[in-house]
């Protein structure tokens, strides 16, 4: 794994933005409301929305905490870009620190405060409630996520993402730890406020964290959601799907292909089911998912001991 010079953050960020835009376009294509309309109109949805939001004014509310509000709305996008720093594309990565996996984890925890602040700052009931919805949902998915992240680290014997990818040269980790892979994807949906875990951005609360921001603020928040999905998909490729491993094609292309595939799956899942309330998610997470993830970790550890 080659670490890149500092300017590599620019193409990395551009890649995230392109993929996030593609995810938004795919979401437009899958939306049944667009059925019967020309494909160009459906594919262009991210463009129309961006134009709309760029033209729109930013608004204020009664006695907002403007500082926390603006920082919170920008937060998800910033977090996604910081996460992207350690996500490898083929053999290339912006940085491959020895604790890359913990870096990823710490950043997803950073979303706890930013999403909460985005809800809190607007000083509206919907925002406030949605901020707390996110925290309660995060309490449900975070611990399983941590153990799901631990599994590949244990199997590879390293917290360095480059080494985790390298350890999958024989078998991809998804074969050895399917449960961890699944939990990871669900958690990605969770911290991206996406699909069945879009509870903090629920329509029943007029959009939740999205209830108050408009214009550029809204654009940044929406882009942040898609960017988080993208980075999550990229990370799942590196941790569980062998990174750039694959025949014929160059490694970076394999990485991008796998990422696109996972991302498409994440986008599609939104159409397949309703949103889950946090109390239900909490019960499932602590009573079922957490034991399963721990069991998975045990299996992986035993395998790792046997292998060494």
């Amino acid at each position: 794994m080659t670490a890149s010079p500092a300017w590599a953050v620019v193409p990395a960020a551009a890649l995230v933005v392109v993929f996030a835009g593609a995810a938004a376009a795919l979401d437009g294509v899958l939306d049944p409301a667009g059925r019967g309309r020309p494909m160009s109109g459906r594919l262009g949805r991210p463009l129309w929305e961006t134009a709309r939001l760029l033209r729109q004014r930013r608004r204020t509310t009664v006695a907002p905490d403007a500082l926390l509000w603006r920082a919170g709305t920008a937060g998800p996008l910033v977090v996604a870009l910081l996460m992207a720093v350690v996500v490898p594309v083929g053999g290339i990565t912006v940085a491959d620190p020895p604790v890359g996996l913990v870096w990823f984890n710490a950043l997803d925890v950073a979303l706890w405060l930013t999403v909460w602040a985005a809800g809190w700052g607007a000083n509206s009931v919907y925002g406030l409630v949605s901020g707390y919805r996110f925290l309660s949902q995060a309490l449900a998915y975070e611990l399983p996520l941590m153990f799901a992240l631990t599994a590949p680290a244990v199997a590879a014997g390293s917290l360095k993402i480059g080494q985790i990818v390298a350890a999958q040269d024989k078998t991809w980790f998804v074969v050895r730890m399917p449960a961890a892979f699944l939990v990871f994807l669900v958690a990605v949906a969770g911290f991206s406020l996406w699909g069945p875990l879009a509870y903090p951005a629920g329509r029943d609360l007029a959009g939740g964290v999205l209830a108050e921001p408009s214009g550029v603020d809204r654009l940044v928040l929406l882009a942040g959601r898609y960017a988080l999905l993208t980075v999550g998909a990229g990370m799942s490729t590196a941790l569980f799907l062998g990174g750039g491993a694959g025949p014929l094609l160059p490694g970076w292309l394999w990485s991008l292909l796998k990422t696109a595939l996972v991302l498409a799956g994440l986008v599609a899942v939104r159409r397949a089911m309703p949103v889950l309330r946090a109390d239900r998610v909490m019960r499932l997470a602590w009573l079922v998912v957490l034991p399963v993830t721990l069991l998975q970790l045990l299996v992986v550890s035993v395998l790792a001991l046997g292998g060494s």
Partner: protein
Amino acid sequence: MVLTQLLGRWAARRPHVLAVAAPGATAVRLAVEVEMARIGAVAATAPSDADVLLAVGSPGDELRDAIDLVWSQLPGPRVRADIDDPAEAGAVLRQVVRQLSDPQRAAEPDRRDEWAERAPDTHGEDMQMPGGLMMADRGPDRDALALDVLTVPLGPVLPDWPSGLVMDLQVQGDVVQQARSRILSAATPPRPFWDAAGPGASRRHAAAHLDSLQRLLAVAGWPGMAWRVRRLRDSTLTDTPGPVLRGHLAAIGRRLNRSPTLRWATDGLGVLTAETADRLQVSGPAARAALEGGDVTARWRRWLTETDALLAGEPAGPGPRGRSVPGRPASAGLLAAADELAIGLDLAAARLVMASLDPDPDQLAAAPEPAEARS
């Protein structure tokens, strides 16, 4: 300049429309929804999300004030229009979108959020609160912590919410402690759209159930499915043959019944027992569902079954919401039940319960309001 025009054109390709319907404007609302789908407009989730504000039907004074307040909250560029005739929905919407793409709109002279800056009236000689806001009061709760109680009105402007309904809630965090619902009046006493009698009544009642179902699915956060049901509702009101409709309905029913996540969201929620239904004079599908478990799941299943029977040609009952007696429309009992069942639930669950009972505002705004509700 070219860029502004391009932005304007692009922005108007997918306008976000906030349609606020008055009670009694169901026919106009349905026409607006059809036209919005035709031009590719999206239903806005909140004032912050909207480019266009449509006042649908003829709202009474209080609802008119609410619409004015919402108008001041639209970020802009923004357009506002009134629609009171189903036939003109298409023309109005197209005109509105033309106005929206006008670059002049974007240059609305430096509008400020007056609504956010003005201090609401403070009552009497209470302490002057910052921004004119009241501090939260405290009250007992289930964990004996006496936390802050907030008084929050849900509605009248909320996505997938019965027209003109206001549910005044007292919440601690997001747990409802008290709920009291009322319907804002319309300018003219409305004729309930769904309560048709005569030859077309079965179709009309089936469409009423489908309208309720699409609202429930939207509240449950399943917009794609809600969209399918909405389409089915609209074709039910046309002369599409019954067997075709039943085929679509069966497909939808299979998806819903097989969705563990939907079952999970609605099972055991908001149980309306037969006794309570009796006491509150609830009849119709909600009362019949009370015999099958009485939870939200039982109610949406009941809608599916009864819609299918109605489409198969079964004669229509007294009304989609049940039997109304003079002075007490069927929806009055549903509204009372929603208030009772909401207590102790979080906001999301309370909204699901309301959607699963789905009182018809047309009926309620038509009825003379009881004297005590005025005080």
